[in-house]
């Protein structure tokens, strides 16, 4: 019985954690320019030197 309680609590925490990460990513604008981000990976970093 206490085992189930522990597992449910852990599942809840994990789920909420994932949700929070998603909401954070949304709010910090990481989904605002999907097309641009896809292209940006192709740009060479010129400040490497």
């Amino acid at each position: 019985m206490s085992g189930i309680g522990l597992i449910i609590a852990a599942a809840l925490l994990f789920g909420l954690g994932a949700l929070c990460v998603l909401l954070w990513a949304l709010n910090s604008g990481q989904y605002d320019d999907m097309k641009g981000d896809a292209e940006r990976i192709l740009i060479d970093d010129e400040t490497a030197a």
């Binding site: 189930i4 449910i8 994932a18 949700l19 989904y31 605002d32 320019d33 097309k35 292209e39 740009i43």
Partner: protein, 728 residues
């Protein structure tokens, strides 16, 4: 690739200081709408280019929206230098006037996504708890079962209430307008399911729909988000257009310098500088010598006319000859463009009367479902059941018949259909545009720029000695006049004559090899006037030569006319051009019904007349003078070469200037409509098998969940069929 406006690089002293905004932290940001950026190269080129402007600290281009955000601290960088840097890199750029409506749209998308993720989290979690009860409930102690239910309830009630806000709001809006839409039964089902489940949990009953409620919200939010993506993707292009469209004016200050202001800031009496090829921002009078102007906006006639000193040029006219100084005669809101904007608005209001298929289904469905629930409650009471049993069974019917699949039926088909059209080069701006296109029974084409390329073509090339053509082209290259440009294009690349003088209404003059050469009207070269589409050339004392031009017909124009007629659509041409030119083109394209010499207001009136006759008109046009008609038509398409205003007024935009995709769009739209109707039938069929069970109180929450997921799946699978090409 964008093109550089002829003057853009030349004027480095325009004053843009009214555009940058200073943020609270002291940094200044300046937003620029950039057109033509497509790939990583463009991003790198623009960002590094702009960052190298002295003072600029950061530049970031959003490729999805075309918005370049440039920032610096203090007052270090000059906005005009930044703007010109982007232009010299080869992209069209203009200051971005942030429209609040566009930001609100992005916020809506983020809100939907947030609701969807919250509902997704809730659905998975609650389903885990509830499924344990449905499948393993017999082996559970009553205490464990109760704990699971309470847990499921404490999660699903707040989660569902939060995530269902889009439905609640929409339902409330509809009810407040004494209307109903699909969101009314959805909201009702969600609220009642939560209420019933909570009551049953307390009473240790079995009718518990916590999982169904969350799942309902989740599945419906997927549909809603698909619908949003559909509108947003197309609006990405429109967003840029709206920004580009914000009219700017160059005002001459007393000291002779120029400042760039929004057209709304221009007062009558201001002196405006309009460069060759640019649009006149407000109604204005010509100062000094005359101006060659393209007034197709007012007349539809593409050949430029001479506006003499003191004559009035309407807003939206294009200066076709040399750059000119004009005196503003009216404010922007009193100018012709404002008239057009009003036509546009009228059209959009007109269109908002259109009831989407989903809402039409809802209007039939809602009374049916509510009536059924009431009947069942009454029936149970009549046979002597308790009030609780009667209510429980009535609510079960409401939950189980909730149009979950109906909510997915339309957006699922439309996103698949528009994706397919997108690949074929047709941008569809809204889902209901497809529904409206499927209903079209009349197609009206504009002539110039739509059925024709809008660019005159040299007709009598074979009669002209190549050397004469080259000489004439040297002069023609210096001008922005459409015929001169056509002449230059026909001659190919080559040198430009020095010191070309442009006389408005007449032509060009320059000295070549010691002889005075002239290109222009027949009178300018000492010939009697001929047809209107001609240029003459005279070198010194030699006899003058005529260059004849004709607007080229779009290669697939006859094909598209035939294709539409084969699909039962009547084709008409409505043109502002002369009778003879229109008749000739109509004959070549195979169109029997045509009307020439129609101005923008008459175009709109003609559409209104057809609408009253009960015809559903598909309007295809490209010019500013078509904008009102595009907005007023039942559905409208603009070619990719159309002016910005026409592209933003139209429901669909073709990516190239080929017309044949229109026939495919009609096919896809009709097929999508068929699939949507099939989906409705599927959803109703699925739900109605469960209704008898619910009526007799036999339905279990597990059946409810299975029906919901099953019918949604069937609907989505059916929607995918829209990708498959019919044998065309």
């Amino acid at each position: 690739m964008g093109t550089v406006t002829p003057t853009a690089a030349g004027i480095a002293w325009e004053d843009l200081s009214s555009f940058p905004r200073t943020n609270r932290d002291g940094r200044t940001t300046f937003d620029i709408a950039v057109k033509g950026a497509r790939c990583a190269n463009c991003i790198a080129k623009i960002e590094t280019g702009v960052k190298s402007v002295p003072g600029v600290e950061d530049a970031r281009l959003n490729l999805s929206t075309g918005k370049l955000c440039v920032s610096w601290s203090g007052r270090n960088a000059a906005p005009d230098v930044v703007l010109n840097r982007v232009r010299t890199l080869g992209y069209e750029a203009s200051p971005y006037e942030a429209a609040a409506a566009l930001d609100a749209n992005a916020a809506e998308g983020r809100f939907l996504l947030r609701c969807m993720s919250v509902a997704g989290f809730g659905a998975i979690f609650v389903m885990g708890l509830m499924d344990a009860i449905w499948y393993g409930g017999h082996d559970m102690s009553a205490a464990t079962r109760n704990m699971f239910l309470i847990l499921a309830g404490t999660i699903s009630v707040p989660v569902t209430l939060y995530a269902s806000q889009p439905f609640f709001r929409s339902a409330y809006r509809a009810l407040a307008n004494r209307n109903s839409n699909m969101d009314v039964p959805i909201s009702l089902a969600i609220l009642l399911a939560l209420l019933l489940s909570t009551a049953q949990t307390i009473a240790h009953g079995t009718q518990i729909y916590f999982d169904a409620a969350v799942m309902l919200a989740f599945l419906l939010l997927i549909g809603r988000y698909l619908d949003y993506l559909l509108r947003d993707r197309a609006r990405g292009a429109a967003k840029q257009l709206a920004a580009m469209q914000s009219m700017l004016a160059r005002r001459l200050r007393a000291d002779g310098t120029l400042e760039t202001v929004s057209a709304n800031a221009v007062m009558p009496g201001d002196r405006l500088f309009v460069a060759s090829g640019e649009r006149v921002p407000v109604d204005a009078r010509v100062e000094g010598t005359g101006v060659d102007a393209d007034i197709s906006l007012v007349t539809g006639e593409s050949a430029p006319v001479l506006a003499g000193p003191g004559s009035l040029l309407r807003a939206g006219s294009i200066v076709a000859g040399a750059s000119a100084v004009l005196v503003a005669a009216a404010r922007a809101e009193d100018s012709l463009l404002a008239d057009l904007a009003r036509l546009l608005e009228m059209g959009q209001q007109n269109r908002s009367h259109y009831v989407r298929l989903a809402d039409r289904a809802a209007r039939a469905y809602v009374p049916f479902v509510l009536g059924m629930a009431v009947l069942i409650a009454v029936g149970w009471l009549l046979v002597g059941a308790t009030v609780t049993t009667a209510l429980t069974n009535a609510i079960a019917v409401l939950v189980i018949t909730c149009p979950c699949a109906l909510g997915l039926a339309v957006p699922a088909v439309q996103i698949v259909a528009t994706s397919r059209l997108f690949e074929r080069g047709i941008i569809v701006k809204s889902g209901d545009a497809l529904e409206r296109l499927a209903e079209a029974d009349t197609a009206i084409f504009d002539k110039t720029g739509t059925l024709t390329s809008g660019k005159p073509e040299l007709l009598n090339r074979g009669d002209i000695p190549p050397q004469i053509l080259q000489q004439a082209a040297q002069l023609a290259r210096a001008s922005n006049h459409p015929l001169a440009r056509a002449l230059a294009a026909a001659a190919g690349d080559g040198p430009v004559a020095m010191d070309v003088r442009e006389v408005p209404g007449s032509g060009l003059e320059a000295t070549l090899d010691g002889a005075i050469c002239r290109v222009g009207s027949a009178a300018w070269c000492g010939l009697p006037p001929g047809k209107s589409s001609e240029l003459c050339f005279r070198a010194g004392d030699q006899p003058a030569v005529r260059f004849l031009f004709r607007d080229t017909i779009q290669s697939d124009a006859p094909e598209i006319v035939a294709a539409l007629q084969k699909r039962g659509i009547r084709v008409e041409i409505l043109s502002g051009d002369r009778d003879s030119a229109t008749a000739e083109l109509a004959a070549r394209a195979g169109v029997l019904n045509w009307k020439a010499g129609v101005d923008p207001k008459e175009k709109a009136a003609h559409l209104e007349r057809l609408r009253k006759e009960g015809r559903r008109v598909l309007m295809i046009g490209d010019g500013l003078n078509d904008t009102g008609a595009l907005a007023l038509a039942h559905v409208s398409i603009a070619p990719g070469t159309a002016v910005d205003a026409a592209q933003s007024a139209a429901d669909m935009v073709l990516r190239g200037n080929h017309l044949l995709p229109i026939a495919e769009a009609v096919d896809v739209a009709r097929k999508a409509r068929r699939l949507v109707l099939q989906n409705f039938a599927l959803a109703v069929l699925y739900n109605s098998t469960a209704i008898p069970l619910a009526m007799f109180g036999l339905v279990t929450p597990l059946v409810a969940a299975a029906t919901m997921a099953g019918s949604s799946l069937a609907v989505i699978l059916n929607a995918l069929r829209a990708v498959r090409t019919s044998a065309s």
